[in-house]
Structures are given as structure tokens and as C-alpha cells.
């Protein structure tokens, strides 16, 4: 029965993958593809973030740093050394992991809110650094002369999402995953059974930065122009955490569910913002109270609300909620049998 379920799951995922791969060939409009790309990007970021944030329980509030850093690495390698794009993107991932090792080793010595704060600081730190560097173009940033079309970018980000999810699955099934999660459960106890926690936490952090670096690398070829304030975004750091917590951090699928739902909502809000705002303006006094209302504000308000509701009602995210339902169903069935 277990294997039946497993086969079903694999089949479903394969079919889904085939459908996703063929989407760009259906002549779908560009803006729809861009929604998919945003979903893939955030799925990739969140499922990677979860390696450290979910498995080891160290909530990194600075994962946008690796995205931004990767964007710069690939843009610089491509424009300055003439390296082919795929090589530049791969190196963006590798350099990003190296940066994470450097950041992670000292930061992972502190826990909880302290860790959240020090990691949060990495994004503004890198932003300021890149604003002041000569060869990265300072605040002006870099133009990337390349011509990947949107369907290609779509396939690249889809590929990164699949690979990062695969990495998460492999981690969950391996001894390394047991090491990571034991840290979340009880770090001191993990040490007393022989787990070198500082080494293994740093490893988790480095792995969690790899795909964000590559995603940033693709982003440069997608937008063809990057500057410090667009790629080093504190908001992105927070959204990564929010999406993952919303989906649930216990397993790889959680962050994917969370990011897929919330990014789609965000994009749809943007697309239909005109209509929604027209409706809202029928409300008495709406225009007086919110004279500068926009779709961005609408999404922020909504995300803030979701965050509050999730923390109160679904502390383990959608995954935890589904699990609870499943558990209650099983209980009912077994009690019905007696």
C-alpha cells in the first residue's frame, strides 16, 4: 500500500513536470509565463532556504543576499570575462555557497532571534558594498547584453526549481538530513551523540545558498539589467521566510506549496490591481483614507494578514494542517472499528 501511494505520487509529479515543460510551447502570453517564472524562482529560493531554515531550524532572514550575490557573479563573469552564460550561472551558485560558508560559520554561533538579526543584516551590507564598488558599476549597476527569450528563461528557472527540490529530497533521505534535523530538535543532545553541530550547520547553510545563487545568476539574464537596490532586497529575504512558513517547513513540498500559492496570488493581484482598486474605491471614504493605494500595498497588506493568521492558526503551515486532518481521519476510522 505504501509503495502504491509512492508510485502514484511519482506518476503525478512526472505528469506535472511534462505539463510544465510543455507550457511555453502552447503559445501562452508572455505575462503568464512571467507568473510561472516568478513562481519557479521563489519555489527554488524557498525550498533551498528550507535546508537551513526548516531542517536545522535556523531561520535565516538574509537569503536574498545569495540571490543578489549570484546575480552579480554571473553578470560580472559574463560581461567581463566573456564566460558562457551557463558557466557563469553555475559559478554564481558555487561562489554563493562559498560566501555562505564565510557568513554562516560566525553567524551560526548565535541562535533564534540573534541569528535572524545577524542574517538580516547581510543584505543591506552587501547592497552597500556593491553600491561602492567600482568594477560592479556602483549604484548604476550592470547591463547584460544577452538575448535569452522568455521561454528559455522559463525552462531555466523550472530546471532550477526541480533540481533544488531534488536536492532537498535527497537530503531528507540521507544521513546528512538526519544530522540537520537533529539540530532543529535539540542541538546539545545532537552534540552528545557525536554530531559536529557547528560543521554540519555550516554545511546546511552553504547548501541552502547554492541554488539561490544560481537563480540570481539566471535573473541577470532575465532582466538584462541589475543594480544593488533591485537584487539585494530585504523584502525578498522576508518573503522567502514567509512563503516557506506558510507552506510548512517539515518537508520539501511545504515551501513549494507556500511559494506557489502566495506568488500566484501576488502576481494575480498585480495583474488585476486596476479592477480591484476600482472596486475598493466604491467603499465609502476609501480614497480619503488610502489616497495612494496600489497593488503593491494590497499585496503587502494581504501577506501581512496571512502571516498573522498562519502564526495563530497554522503554526506548522499548510503541511502541518493537512497532517492534522489526516491524523484525525485515521483516528476516526480506528475508533469506528472498535
Amino acid at each position: 500500500m505504501e509503495t502504491e501511494k509512492f508510485k502514484l505520487k511519482i506518476t503525478f509529479l512526472c505528469v506535472l513536470l511534462v505539463v510544465l515543460v510543455s507550457v511555453p510551447y502552447f503559445g501562452i502570453p508572455e505575462y503568464a509565463l512571467s507568473v510561472f517564472i516568478a513562481v519557479f524562482i521563489y519555489c527554488s529560493l524557498c525550498v533551498s532556504w528550507n535546508v537551513v531554515g526548516g531542517y536545522t531550524g535556523y531561520l535565516s532572514f538574509g537569503h536574498a543576499a545569495f540571490f543578489g550575490f549570484g546575480a552579480y557573479v554571473s553578470a560580472l563573469l559574463y560581461t567581463h570575462t566573456g564566460m558562457p552564460p551557463y558557466g557563469a550561472i553555475l559559478l554564481a551558485g558555487i561562489f554563493s555557497s562559498i560566501l555562505a560558508t564565510g557568513i554562516g560559520y560566525p553567524c551560526l554561533k548565535v541562535k533564534g532571534p540573534y541569528f535572524a538579526v545577524v542574517t538580516f543584516a547581510t543584505v543591506p551590507m552587501l547592497k552597500i558594498m556593491f553600491e561602492n564598488l567600482e568594477f560592479t558599476g556602483g549604484v548604476q549597476g550592470i547591463f547584460i547584453k544577452s538575448s535569452f527569450n522568455t521561454p528559455t528563461i522559463y525552462l531555466m528557472t523550472l530546471c532550477l526549481m526541480v533540481l533544488s527540490a531534488l536536492m532537498a529530497v535527497l537530503i531528507e533521505k540521507s544521513a546528512i538530513g538526519i544530522g540537520f534535523t537533529s539540530i532543529r530538535e535539540d542541538e546539545d543532545a545532537a552534540e552528545t551523540i557525536g554530531i559536529n553541530t557547528s560543521k554540519i550547520k555550516t554545511l546546511a547553510f552553504a547548501l541552502s545558498a547554492f541554488f539561490p545563487g544560481m537563480v540570481g545568476g539566471v535573473f541577470s539574464f532575465y532582466k538584462l539589467y541589475i543594480n544593488p537596490s533591485t537584487v539585494f532586497s530585504e523584502e525578498m529575504s522576508i518573503l522567502i521566510v514567509l512563503f516557506s512558513l506558510f507552506g510548512g517547513t517539515m518537508r520539501w513540498i511545504g515551501p513549494i506549496i507556500g511559494a506557489s500559492i502566495l506568488v500566484t496570488i501576488d502576481r494575480v493581484l498585480h495583474i488585476y490591481s486596476g479592477i480591484i482598486i476600482d472596486w475598493l474605491e466604491y467603499l465609502p471614504y476609501f480614497k480619503k483614507v488610502f489616497p495612494y493605494f496600489s497593488s503593491g500595498i494590497l499585496a503587502s497588506v494581504l501577506f501581512g494578514l496571512i502571516l498573522i493568521l498562519v502564526i495563530i492558526f497554522m503554526p506548522k503551515g499548510i503541511l502541518g494542517w493537512l497532517e492534522k486532518i489526516e491524523l484525525e481521519r485515521l483516528k476516526k476510522r480506528t475508533s469506528g472499528r472498535d
Partner: protein
């Protein structure tokens, strides 16, 4: 000689929790550490297994100086422990708790092998039927057994047990005592335990060390220690001496 603690002192700010403490543990000799509440027993364990580095003094284990090493190194060099209040991986199943220790501390890299070892150990402590239950859902006494199994999974030479019998009923206590004898005789593991249950201490230990206010006040075979006036004074208070 398996473990030698050489004039170890531990200060927490102004508080001297352990003061110039020395003793040795011989291989295979079941030794107990007793003392009133707050005497410094758990602190001494925390120093031996590396959770706290000592303020001064040194610790020699199996011929090697382990002073100041991280707990994970000390664990892998062969010292296992349990905690006064169990510190399990609550969201793991019972089996996975033991597997994690078998992999990391026990050096079994293959997950299937680690699983086999885990089941053996759960069988040993009598928890094989609970292997798929989440650790948080175990009964209090089962948690104690699981911690014991997890500590054994690292293949220790020395096992530090912090109040293993606390909260166990009559039958569980005698069951646990049997396990300890098996651990000692069949697995060849030396046991050093903190114990409040004096009856159990007298019954199974070959040597007793008494700590009071962070100092060693007596050491010897159980019946000598029980008659030591310093010890009686420490346990019953000044006026009874």
C-alpha cells in the same frame, strides 16, 4: 584507568560549582556519584562530556587529554550520556532517535545498517514495539529507556547516566538495574551514574563518590561511605551529626 579527573574547578561567575575535584574511574567498576540537590553532580557530568569547559584542571579519558574538546569529539572518543530530564529528538520516531546516534556517534554510515543496529538496541531496552512512535508521544519512563538506547548507539566505553532511575516505579527500577548489569557485563561498558535512589546505589555500585557544595567529601565502597560522618552530615544536616 578509564577516566581521570584532575583537580577540576568550575566557576559560574562568582559561584564555585565544582571545586578542585579529583577522582579516577576504573574500567568495569560500576561507580555512583551522589550528593544533595545542587551539589554539582550534573555540572560535573557536563564538564566531563564537554558541555562546559572547566575553569581549571584537566580530564584524561582512555589515555588522552580531552579537556576543552567539544562534546561531539568527546562523544566520538567514547563517552555517552543521558540527561536528568530526557532530551530526545521529539519529532523523530523512537527508531530514528537511535539511528541518528548510530550514524554519527557509532560511525555506521549506511542507513540500513544503522537501522538494524537501532532495532537491536530498542529490543535491548524493550522499546521495539514503539519504534514508529514519535518520541514526544512516549511515556516518561519510555523516554528514559530511549535515551539509554540512544546513548548506547554511539558505542561508548564510558556511560554517564544522570538520574536514570528518577521517576521509575519499583518494577521499572529493577528492570533498569538488570539492563545496567547487562551493559556492564555483556557490552563491557563502564557505568558512572548520578543517583538519588540510595537503595539502588547500595545495591549495584562497587564504588561511590560523594559530592557536597562542589567538593568531594567521601569516596569508597558503599557500606563505608554510608557510615562516613561527613556524608551523614551532608545528607541530614549539621544537627544530626
Amino acid at each position: 584507568m578509564l577516566l581521570e579527573v584532575r583537580s577540576v574547578t568550575k566557576k559560574f561567575g562568582g559561584l564555585i560549582a565544582i571545586s578542585n575535584f579529583s577522582f579516577v574511574l576504573e574500567k568495569g567498576i560500576m561507580t555512583s556519584l551522589i550528593g544533595p540537590n545542587g551539589a554539582g553532580k550534573t555540572t560535573l557530568f557536563n564538564i566531563i562530556n564537554g558541555i562546559y569547559p572547566p575553569t581549571s584542571g584537566s580530564i584524561i579519558f582512555d589515555g588522552k587529554d580531552i579537556t576543552g574538546l567539544k562534546p561531539n569529539k568527546i562523544a566520538r572518543s567514547g563517552i555517552g550520556r543521558t540527561f536528568q530530564t530526557p532530551r530526545l529528538f521529539n519529532e523523530f520516531t523512537t527508531l530514528k532517535n537511535v539511528i541518528s546516534a548510530a550514524i554519527y556517534g557509532g560511525g555506521i554510515r549506511d542507513i540500513r545498517e544503522a537501522k538494524k543496529r537501532g532495532i537491536e538496541l530498542l529490543d535491548f531496552v524493550g522499546l521495539e514495539k514503539k519504534k514508529d512512535v514519535l518520541a514526544k508521544n512516549l511515556l516518561a519512563t519510555e523516554k528514559k529507556y530511549l535515551e539509554l538506547a540512544r546513548a548506547l548507539a554511539i558505542r561508548p566505553k564510558l556511560l554517564l547516566l544522570d538520574e536514570l532511575f528518577a521517576g521509575l516505579g519499583e518494577s521499572d527500577t529493577s528492570n533498569a538495574i538488570n539492563l545496567l548489569f547487562k551493559i556492564k557485563n555483556d557490552m563491557g561498558i563502564t557505568i558512572f551514574m548520578i543517583e538519588h535512589n540510595i537503595k539502588a546505589v547500595m545495591k549495584i555500585s562497587e564504588k561511590v563518590i560523594v559530592i557536597h557544595h562542589g567538593e568531594k567529601i567521601a569516596e569508597g565502597v558503599p557500606k563505608d561511605v554510608a557510615q562516613n560522618p561527613e556524608v551523614i552530615k551532608a545528607y541530614l544536616g549539621e544537627e544530626y551529626a
